[in-house]
């Protein structure tokens, strides 16, 4: 039986970590994810977990400690945001290339500068090609559920990749909302014990981890990572199926909300998907055939499946909560458009960069996107495919 509770997104992530009871947590505090290691350290102090908590002096060391722990054969977790992730950057690549299934709770925040502690996805987008599995969460429930599924996915022998669970800083991390929790013993059973095949502390099999990888090997090792990322898709679906059998809560690679019979749709990630659902409900009452595709699994990117799901639409808007500053559009937009092109799905697509640095995204703004899409459908014209939503402009 699920337990009815109310928790913030950070409390939800910390609760999942408590129930997982990893061998090692190494973390350095940074807003808005600070509460996660803070709550976790009280669990350690109160004897609710038997985790080795390493209070490191920087995020670079936090990821390094997780790498050391995982290589030794332990299960390691950490949490961070924005500039904390930036400082980890070197070790982020090392974690994935050493095929260490570390789990990171990333509470999304704008990367400086100028200094801003509020939500956008620029931190996550900065590591989108680093070889980590990336799951996005609409609310506290999904942050909790994704964390409970994380180890089963990352530690699968066909995958062996690190995984980050993303949620929106402040918007969900600091908002108290209803949540269904699972029993400790059930979580333990679902997550299972970690028995790595190869690890440093195995005296029966002496190995080296992370030595020099010269011209004759690195290419093949990278290809191995790429294969693992492709294989992760099926593993995620299988774990999600098992999770649904247990909790009744359904997860796929993405969520389709009233998309089947929709004519126009928004593609986005994290909390804005919730606001979009509320707008869709209103629009549907007015007869507008609006829908949503919420990306849950951003890496591996489910390109074929997304192209199939969007192929029947008359116009699509992709919302990016990070500007790639590349003069052609945001990262999610590029991913969606290229998979549509490859799958030969000719649907007009526009991109909106929105919510930068914590700018609130309102229902009215989401409604205006659907209005724009109706306009595109009726005129067949897209003047500027790379736009802003909620940007304040100076009067001319």
């Amino acid at each position: 039986m699920s337990i009815r509770e109310r928790l913030s997104g950070n409390e939800a992530a910390a609760t999942a970590m408590k129930q997982i009871n990893p061998d090692v947590v190494a973390a350095f505090p940074i807003t808005p994810s600070t509460e996660i290691p803070q709550y976790f350290s009280t669990f350690v102090d109160n004897g609710l977990v038997d985790t080795e908590f390493v209070a490191v002096e920087s995020e670079h060391s936090a990821m390094s400690a997780c790498i050391g722990a995982e290589a030794a054969g332990a299960r390691a977790m950490t949490a961070t945001s924005a500039n904390g992730l930036s400082l980890m950057w070197e070790m982020i690549y090392i974690a994935s290339s050493l095929r260490l299934p570390i789990v990171l709770s990333l509470v999304n925040r704008a990367v400086s500068g100028p200094l801003n502690i509020h939500n956008d996805h620029s931190d996550a987008m900065g590591v989108r090609d680093a070889g980590w599995i990336m799951l996005f969460s609409e609310n506290n429930q999904e942050a909790y559920d994704n964390t409970l599924m994380a180890h089963r996915i990352a530690e699968n022998e066909n995958v062996l990749l690190p995984l980050m669970v993303c949620q929106d800083g402040f918007i969900t991390s600091h908002s108290i909302e209803n949540i269904e929790l699972e029993e400790d013993s059930e979580v333990k059973k679902f997550v299972g014990e970690y028995h790595p095949k190869h690890y440093l502390l195995n005296d029966k099999e002496p190995i080296a981890v992370g030595p020099l990888d010269v011209q004759s090997y690195l290419f093949e090792h990278k290809a191995g990572q790429a294969e693992a990322m492709k294989a992760a898709k099926d593993v995620i679906l299988q774990v999600s199926k098992d999770f649904e059998k247990w909790t009744g809560r359904h997860y796929g690679l993405f969520e389709e909300y009233k998309l089947d019979d929709a004519e126009i749709a928004i593609v986005c990630m994290n909390s804005t998907a919730g606001t979009t659902k509320a707008v869709i409900d209103d629009l549907r009452e007015k007869g507008v055939k609006a829908g949503l595709l919420k990306v849950r699994v951003y890496r591996p990117f489910p390109g074929d499946e997304i192209a199939e799901a969007l192929g029947h639409l008359k116009a699509v808007a992709v919302l990016d909560k990070a500007d790639s500053l590349n003069a052609i559009g945001g990262a999610l937009f590029e991913d969606v458009t290229s998979c549509m092109y490859v799958a030969k799905k000719q649907v007009p697509i526009v991109n909106y960069v929105y919510g930068i640095g914590g700018r609130d995204t309102t229902s009215k703004e989401i409604e205006s996107v659907y209005k724009d899409l109706e306009e595109i459908v009726s005129t067949g014209k897209i003047d500027n495919p790379y736009r802003y939503l909620g940007l304040r402009r100076e009067e001319k």
Partner: protein, 193 residues
């Protein structure tokens, strides 16, 4: 979503508006509702204007934005009335609840002709008489429950006993005073005609 109630809190850093919004979310949660309680984080300093929000509904709440057209507004500090547009977007079918001893004429003037309900409470008096210190958030919490009728006074009082026991686990001596503050505040809310 007709039964969705949206509340906006205005206070100053250190007065407990954020805590009050979280306690209200807690109380509504305990009556079986779906809830949201969240502050708008700005530069956090003692005394700076802060905003916090509540959504309460009998159905799951998916919307994740600030609240622009609230049903109710709570003003924890009346010095904000002239500097913050507290009635912005406030529905005329709703109400504003203000911690103040200012005159009805003054309030009508600063609220710029707001046509919904205007309620006042002297949270300083309630707090000083029951707690011996000025903590306006506890009386304001009771005041908004009274005005919005999110739950019955009785359910609210019973529920808060449990919440305070949890919240003040390390300071049990303040539980009685806070309970008295709630009970007194429920009786001290005035409607301005």
């Amino acid at each position: 979503m007709n039964d969705l109630i949206e509340i906006r809190w205005h206070g100053r850093g250190g007065q407990g508006a954020k805590t009050a919004s979280l306690l209200l979310a807690d109380a509504a949660f305990n009556t079986g509702k779906y809830i949201q309680g969240f502050p708008e984080y700005g530069p956090e300093r003692m005394g700076a204007p802060i905003t916090a929000y509540n959504r309460i509904s009998s159905k799951p709440i998916t919307i994740h934005s600030n609240i622009y057209e609230p049903d109710y507004v709570v003003v924890v500090d009346d010095t904000l009335l002239e500097s913050v547009p507290v009635t912005a977007g406030l529905k005329t079918s709703g109400a504003i609840v203000i911690n103040t001893t200012k005159s009805a004429d003054y309030l009508k003037k600063v609220l710029k002709g707001y046509e919904g309900g205007i309620y006042t409470i002297d949270a300083r008096k309630v707090s000083m008489e029951t707690l011996g210190k000025y903590f306006p958030n506890t009386p304001m919490l009771a005041a908004i429950v009274k005005v919005s009728q999110i739950m019955s006074d009785e359910d609210f009082i019973n529920d808060m006993k449990g919440s305070f026991k949890h919240k003040f686990a390390k300071k049990p001596e303040v539980i009685d005073g806070n309970m008295k503050a709630l009970e007194m505040a429920l009786k001290e809310v005035n409607k301005i005609q």
